[in-house]
Assembly symmetry: C2
Homo-oligomer: 212 residues x 2
DNA sequence: CGTGCGATGTATCGGTCCGATACATCGCGG
DNA sequence: CCGCGATGTATCGGACCGATACATCGCACG
C-alpha cells in the first residue's frame, strides 16, 4: 500500500521523505492517521533497491551559485524512474481483493485521477460488493444473535451498519457517475463542483492504456 | 488490542481458538474484518506464558462416560485466570491515546459492559476529541488546499469529513446518555430498545470497581 | 459403500506497518 | 545568546496480516 502511494505521489514531483509524509498525510487524511517514519524510510530504501525510484540532486531549478553556504547536507530527494511508473501502472492494473479493504480502497481511490475509467469502475464495484457483504453480516448479527450481545456491542453494530449503508449509497452514486459521463464528483452544485484540475505538474493522462 | 479482546471474551466463557475467532468476529464485525490466526495463536501463547490464561479440560459439564470414542484430540480450550482478570481491569483503567484510534476505540467500546461509567465517559470524550481534530484537518484541506488536489481526492475527503461529523454526533448522544441515566442505547423506541440482557453466562457486574 | 468436500481445528512464516526513540540542523523570538 | 519548535533522517522491537500446511469430522451424492 505504502509502495503504491509513494510511487503515485512521486509522479507529481520529486520529494524528500519529510515532504512525502506531509503530502501523504494530506492526501490520505480521510482514511488513515499519518504514515510512520518507521514504514516510510524502509519502504523508500526498498523502492530504491528495486530501481523504481532514485536519489535526485538538490535544488534542480534556479541553479544559483550559492553552493557552500549552509550546505544543506541531509535532505535526500527522491524521484520516480521509468520502471517505477511501469510498476505503478501494473499495481493499478492488478486490482486484487486486497484493493477492496478499507485502507487499500482508500489509497487506490486517492489516485483515481491516474487510473483509467474501466479500472475505476472495477474497483468501485469490488468495494461495493465487499461492503454489501459486511452489511449483510452485521444485519445477521443484529437480527439473529441480538440476545447474545450486550447493549453497547449492539449499538456499535448499529453504527457500523449505518456506515455501511451510507458507503454503499456513496459508491452507487460514484458508479452511476462513472458510467455515464466522467465527472468525478456527485452532482453537487455549490462547492468545488465541475471545475477540472487546473494545476500544472503533470499532464495527467487520464486514460492510460485503454483498449478500444 | 488483541490481548484486550481475548481477555474480555474469555471472561464470558472458556473457549478454544477457532471459537474465539468466531466470537471475536461477531463482536468486532463492525470495526474490523476478521482476526487472523497468524495473530491469534501467537497471542494466546503469549497470554498463557504471562499466566493470564490457562488450558482447561475439555467437556467440563455433563461429564458423561463417553471418553474413548472419537477422542477429540486437538481442541485446546483456554480459560482466563484471576491474574488475567486483573490484567483486563488494568488495561481498561489506563485508557491512553492509543485507545482513541479507530480500532482501539472500537474494541474498548465493545467491552463497555465491563467498564465502569467514569472510564466509559473518559473514553468517549477522548474519542470525540480525536475525531474533532481529524475533522478540522479535513476541513482545512478542503478549504485551503483544495486547488492542489484532484477531484477524486477531494471527493474522498468530503466523504471522510461527512463520516467524522456523523461520528461526532453519535458520540455526543452517547455521552449525553452516559451522563444522565445509564441507558446504553440512544433513545430509539422500536427495535431492541430498553431490553436488558437476559442471558445466563456471567452475572455481568456492570459497574466493576467504582468508588462512591 | 466409499469418497470427496466443506466446516472445524491448530499452527508457522515472511512481510508490512506502527510507535518510540535518537539525533542533528535551522530560524526566530525573548 | 540561548532555547524551542519545525524540519529532517534513521533504527528497533513488536503487533498484526495473508498465505500456507495439515489433520479430522460429518454428510451428501453417486
Amino acid at each position: 500500500m505504502l509502495e503504491f502511494a509513494i510511487l503515485g505521489l512521486l509522479q507529481e514531483s520529486p520529494m524528500h521523505g519529510y515532504e512525502l509524509r506531509k503530502e501523504l498525510t494530506a492526501k490520505l487524511g480521510a482514511i488513515r492517521a499519518a504514515i510512520s517514519y518507521g514504514s516510510l524510510y524502509p519502504t523508500l530504501r526498498r523502492l530504491q533497491a528495486a530501481g523504481w525510484i532514485t536519489e535526485a540532486a538538490e535544488t534542480p531549478a534556479t541553479a544559483e551559485e550559492v553552493p557552500a553556504l549552509t550546505s544543506r547536507r541531509g535532505r535526500v530527494v527522491y524521484k520516480i524512474t521509468a520502471e517505477g511508473k511501469e510498476r505503478f501502472a501494473q499495481l493499478i492494473a492488478q486490482a486484487g481483493p486486497e484493493t477492496y479493504d478499507d485502507t487499500g480502497f482508500g489509497v487506490h481511490f486517492a489516485f483515481f485521477a491516474r487510473t483509467d475509467q474501466a479500472t475505476r469502475l472495477r474497483i468501485l464495484e469490488g468495494r461495493r460488493r465487499k461492503i454489501e457483504e459486511r452489511r449483510e453480516g452485521l444485519r445477521d448479527v443484529l437480527g439473529r444473535a441480538a440476545e447474545r450481545l450486550d447493549a453497547y456491542t449492539l449499538e456499535l453494530q448499529r453504527h457500523g451498519l449505518d456506515a455501511c449503508e451510507r458507503e454503499v449509497r456513496w459508491l452507487e452514486e460514484l458508479i452511476a457517475n462513472e458510467r455515464s459521463g466522467r465527472a468525478p464528483t456527485v452532482p453537487n452544485p455549490g462547492a468545488a463542483g465541475g471545475r477540472r484540475e487546473d494545476n500544472s505538474p503533470p499532464p495527467p493522462g487520464e486514460t492510460r492504456n485503454e483498449r478500444p
